[in-house]
């Protein structure tokens, strides 16, 4: 089966003097597969997915999105991307935002009339009449996921999709991922919420400082009797210089009586 997306020896740095944000990352994702990209803050997860979505230019390596370059509009028409901290034109309402994106996706009037109310209902924003500028972080995140699925993508990239969601919202996202997987949609989940990844992903790659430390199916990465968190912490700590785990002294000091 041809991969939906494949990246090979991907490299990116933001300034010439900076260390590589992404350095030699390689992976591929097939239809119906849920791939978890894990890593601590600043490990290069978001840079990777932004390069796949054509939002950042790689400094090296090759990306193939549906057999084309990420900048190709036909390839991006099959992609749904929910960014980490989603934002939208702030004076529009949720329905207008989806109408805007439906227009960009080239959906006709009938499809818009069908998809927009259903997508709003899924996101729990169907009764919402306020403008985006008055939305909470969680509401923006819901709208971010809603716009990502609006075009019925064949690849859904979710960058920290549940970071600002309440437990019900998280459950909805898990159900969405399961349902999409079952219908053959590939899901690239970018998260450091390991319990969540463990529940929904078939394959994972653990990143630190732009490098892939370990990649494979969940069974390959997590040996029996251990958790994903154990493996993650062990790998990340081994790749980083020793760090003192001591709390700040002003926290641990006992107050003078």
């Amino acid at each position: 089966m041809a991969p939906v997306v494949s990246v090979e020896a991907l490299r990116k740095r933001y300034r010439r003097r900076d260390p590589w944000a992404v350095d030699g990352v390689t992976f591929a994702l097939e239809p119906g597969q849920a791939f978890g990209l894990l890593g601590p803050n600043g490990s290069g997860k978001t840079s990777c997915v932004k390069m796949i979505a054509g939002l950042l230019r790689p400094d090296g390596g090759v990306i193939s999105l549906f057999g084309a370059k990420p900048g190709d509009p036909a390839a991006r028409a099959q992609l749904g991307f929910a960014p980490e901290e989603p934002d939208f034109p702030k004076f529009l309402r949720a329905r207008e935002v989806l109408d805007y994106f439906a227009s960009l996706l080239g959906l006709d009037e009938d499809e818009r009339k069908r998809r927009i109310p259903e997508t709003l209902a899924f996101a729990g924003l169907d009764q919402e009449r306020r403008q985006v500028r008055q939305f909470s972080k969680g509401m923006k995140q819901r709208l971010g996921i809603a716009q990502a699925i609006l075009g019925r993508p064949k690849l859904l990239i979710l960058d920290e999709p549940t970071a600002d969601l309440d437990p019900m919202g998280r459950r909805d996202v898990r159900a969405l991922i399961e349902s999409l997987k079952a219908s053959g949609v590939a899901v690239l989940l970018n998260s450091h919420l390991l319990s969540e990844v463990e529940l929904v992903c078939d394959t994972v790659a653990i990143l630190a400082k732009g490098h892939v430390l370990k990649e494979g199916t969940m069974a390959e990465v997590v040996p029996e009797g251990r958790t994903l968190e154990d493996v993650f912490v062990e790998l990340v700590q081994a790749s980083a210089p020793p760090k003192h785990d001591n709390l700040p002294s002003f926290i641990t000091d006992k107050e003078d009586q």
Binding site: K50, L55, P73, F91, L104, L105
Partner: protein, 299 residues
């Protein structure tokens, strides 16, 4: 094309709800009505009495006085219109693209199958339409104010209003182009400085062309080079008409007075085809700069 229209449509909806534009539009509407009314009342009550002519000479022709006052009135109205057109140009230029790029809205937009060219074209088109609509409404209001007080100079006002819109459009594109590279407040300040410097260069060039700066070849040559590096403000024949009427008003028939053609030579005349072509070139240039900046932008 569909992408451009979608971007333009929703940018217009977004812009129409921005309070800063609403405030500028209301200030403009109130300002033009207020300035027009005050000036007209003032000029018809007091100014007519001031034109009694020099001692011992015949009083000036009342028709000339009226013509002069009407021109002055139109000049003040278009001055007010120009000021609010500039404010609106800054308001739109600072927000139309900048907020999408800085807020992260561009991340979701650019992940959709829309080219950066279509996005830029839609944004520039929406910004231009928003400005033309707001300044157009203010111009209609200015014309109504003019009609209310006698009228007869609508043609002059229309030509000057078109020139003001064209000039504001250039400024808006400069702010748009700069705000895709830098903070929008810094962009507005730089655009203001550049626009003011361009105005000085054009004014000096006009003086040089009229022979008022002497025959220093280096100075005149330098001004000529600078003149073709900055946008030229488009003008109607209103400023020259005003000066001409003023000179004619104060000249006494049969006595030597100031030469009309010499007096108006230093005042910018109506823009000719070269100026209009240069304006079109500058508009295309700055719109292209906006596109280059958006295309290069990583979000």
């Amino acid at each position: 094309m569909k992408g451009t229209l979608a971007v333009a449509r929703f940018t217009l909806i977004d812009l129409s709800r921005r309070r800063i534009l609403l405030v500028f539009a209301i200030l403009g509407a109130v300002g033009i009505a207020g300035i027009g009314t005050i000036l007209k009342i003032f000029s018809s009550t007091f100014a007519g009495a001031a034109f009694t002519g020099s001692p011992g000479s015949a009083p000036p022709d009342p028709a000339k006085i009226n013509r002069f006052l009407d021109l002055m009135f139109v000049s003040d109205l278009v001055g007010a219109l120009g000021l609010f057109a500039l404010l609106i140009a800054f308001g739109i230029g600072m927000t139309a693209i900048y907020h999408d790029l800085e807020s992260g809205a561009a991340v979701a937009i650019f992940s959709k199958p829309v080219s950066r060219f279509a996005f830029t074209a839609g944004k520039v088109a929406a910004a231009a339409v928003a400005m033309i609509v707001i300044v157009g409404l203010l111009s209609i209001e200015a014309m109504l104010v003019g009609l209310l007080f006698g009228g007869g100079l609508e043609q002059t006002l229309v030509a000057e209003a078109v020139a003001q819109v064209a000039n504001a459009l250039t400024l808006m594109l400069i702010v748009l182009a700069l705000s895709t590279w830098m903070n929008n407040i810094v962009a507005a300040i730089l655009a203001f400085i550049y626009n003011a410097a361009a105005g000085v260069v054009v004014a000096l060039h006009n003086q040089s062309a009229a022979g008022n700066l002497g025959d220093n070849a280096i100075l005149n040559g330098g001004l000529n080079v600078l003149y073709w590096l900055v946008p030229h403000q488009l003008t109607s024949d209103a400023p020259r008409e005003l000066v001409k009427a003023e000179v004619e008003l104060f000249s006494t028939p049969g006595q030597p007075g100031p030469d009309v053609s010499q007096a108006v030579a230093s005042v910018p005349g109506p823009s000719d085809l070269t100026d209009i072509l240069w304006w079109a070139f500058v508009v295309i240039l700055f719109a292209s700069l906006v596109y280059v900046a958006v295309r290069r932008r990583q979000v």
